[in-house]
Amino acid sequence: MSRIDAQPVDETHEARLIPPAAPARPKRSVLRPGDLFSLGLHGLKARPMRAILASLGIAIGIAAMISVVGISTSSQALVKEKLAALGTNLLTVTAGTDLFGAAAPLPEGALASIRRIPGVEHAGSTATLEGIGVYRSVEIEASRTGGLSVAAADPGLLAATGARLLDGAWLNEATARFPTVVLGHTAAERLGLQQAGALVWLGGHEFSVIGILDRSLLAPELDTSALIGAPIAAELFGFDGSPTTIYERSDEALVDEVRALLPGTVNPAAPNEVKVSRPSDVLAAKNTVDQAFTGLLVGVGSIALLVGGIGVANTMVISVLERRREIGLRRSLGATRRHIRLQFLFEAVLLSALGGLAGTVLGWVITAIAAGANGWSLAVPPLVLIAGVLVTIAVGAIAGVLPAVRAARTSPTAALSG
């Protein structure tokens, strides 16, 4: 009742009471944004050790996440680089099985048919020669094959798989007719050969090593093979000319169309007995496995971040309890509840952002070190760095809500009582 009645009286009192120099009502408590900023900063500077320890949790969480994402993207960048260099246009055709599960070899003319598909640029084949081993010398026991296989290769194989020679030369029409062999990278290693020119014991004959291949990412089965020419294979081992694997490289844009045509072309009678695969997909799939692992680590990182956020909230709650008098003083100086709330909220955000910033830098450095050690090019998406800082600001804001509300609830009389 008194309030409504008193209103006009208030006005007159106002007019008489306030000295002429003072600005007119309504006056309000105002806290400038710049002052809010220095208040938050001041709160942290007052207890630097505590601020550092509280933000450490956040820093570790965000550093873990950034380095995990950074390392994974950096390694992926390398794989992508390699794939781009190797090309994703390689398809392999292998012998499948027939309806009854028996092996269904590829027909003898398959390679020639594939070469006639529009868009096919290179094609080559290998035919594994069962029961034939390659040894360093005649003295080696036949059972110690070293996991190596012998295959008859088509001269087009090198261009089709994109394999490169470390040493020596590839098979040509002439050498394919003589006992000459090109060794895969692993095969050469296991036979203890680093250069072409030596003789090896292959299928009961001496073969001259004329070339050694580099590692092949897209056709890793070549690494453990000893490749000989088809004519000599036919002559010495009765090779019938039907390939086990055909490698085919086509125009990048036509890969899908070629892929659709391959089974029917290779074996028109039974296209379902032909298996077609794309080795670059296998590499990409390996990457996907890595991504699952990355997801796990990011999950661990977010738990660290959560724990860090709880640490910030805890520190701020304690800080509010300790600073009851400061809060009371500020209230007596004219701070509204909102001002107190903002001050503590901002302090929590600042605390968390500090940790976020430190963690982001740390994560980046860890990524740089890992990339440097593995020879990757450093590729941390800038968005991840920005997101890292933004996430910590959000964590700080959430962590600060409870302490800020408690601070605002602190009685204004706190400065007087004790």
Binding site: E14, A22, K27, L329, L333, G334, S411
Partner: protein, 233 residues
């Protein structure tokens, strides 16, 4: 006849359940430009009175008017504004921020008026000169004596030129000489026109005031005035 700055009408304040009565019906009028002491032993309700006059606490019943405003129905923001512009507080424990210069401590008294920092510092400089600490603006609280710290706190309370200055045991933590200095400054502010209300349990301090309101068990037991010259006694 002066205008009232503080008007309490039938003010009570009780806490908890069953209620403990801290103030049991207080009527008090303080006119503009007065200097008075509210005196009483601890537990007499004088601190509760200060909280209510300072708008830090609300009365359980009765009417409280500060500078003409009935504060009973005011929102938190309105009460805060009242404290920012109209009321200045001096505390027994000073409540200065450590590691912050005297100048910035005093300037903090204007923080919630939204004045730019430069203007706040200018006025803080003048307020410090007013309490005789113009030479010590750059000192931090630990470099100042107790009396000097309380003078900084007074400067902070008056930097906004409030109509009403509330001092809670301003000499309670000081030796006699520093206490005398502080009371001298409060009297000086009073002569300059500020209404000064001192809360104390110390009858010697109260005796130096022209008006003494004695409180006991939540009631005013006496309200004595002496001639303004009594301050010199």
């Amino acid at each position: 006849m002066s205008r009232p700055v503080v008007e309490l009408r039938g003010v009570t304040r009780s806490f908890g359940a069953p209620p403990t009565v801290a103030l049991a019906g207080v009527d008090l009028t303080v006119d503009e430009g007065e200097l008075l002491a509210i005196v009483g032993p601890s537990g007499s309700g004088k601190s509760t009175m200060l909280n209510i006059i300072g708008s830090l606490d609300r009365a359980s019943s009765g009417t409280v008017r500060i500078a003409g405003h009935d504060i009973g129905g005011m929102s938190d923001a309105e009460l805060s504004a009242l404290r920012a512009y109209t009321i200045g507080f001096v505390f027994q424990q000073f409540h200065l921020a450590e590691g912050v210069t005297a100048l910035d401590n005093v300037a903090a008294g204007l923080l919630y008026t939204g004045l730019p920092a430069r203007r706040r510092r200018e006025r803080a400089q003048r307020a410090l000169e007013q309490v005789g600490l113009g030479e010590r603006v750059g000192h931090r609280p630990h470099q100042l004596s107790g009396g000097e710290r309380q003078r900084v706190a007074i400067a902070r309370a008056v930097v906004g030129e409030p109509q009403l200055l509330l001092a809670d045991e301003p000499t309670g933590s000081l030796d006699t000489r520093s206490g005398t200095d502080v009371l001298e400054i409060l009297r000086g502010l009073h002569s300059a026109g500020t209404t000064v209300l001192v809360i104390t349990h110390d009858n010697d301090v109260a005796a130096q005031m022209p008006r003494r309101v004695h409180v006991r068990d939540g009631r005013i037991v006496s309200d004595e005035r002496s001639a303004p010259a009594g301050a010199a006694a």
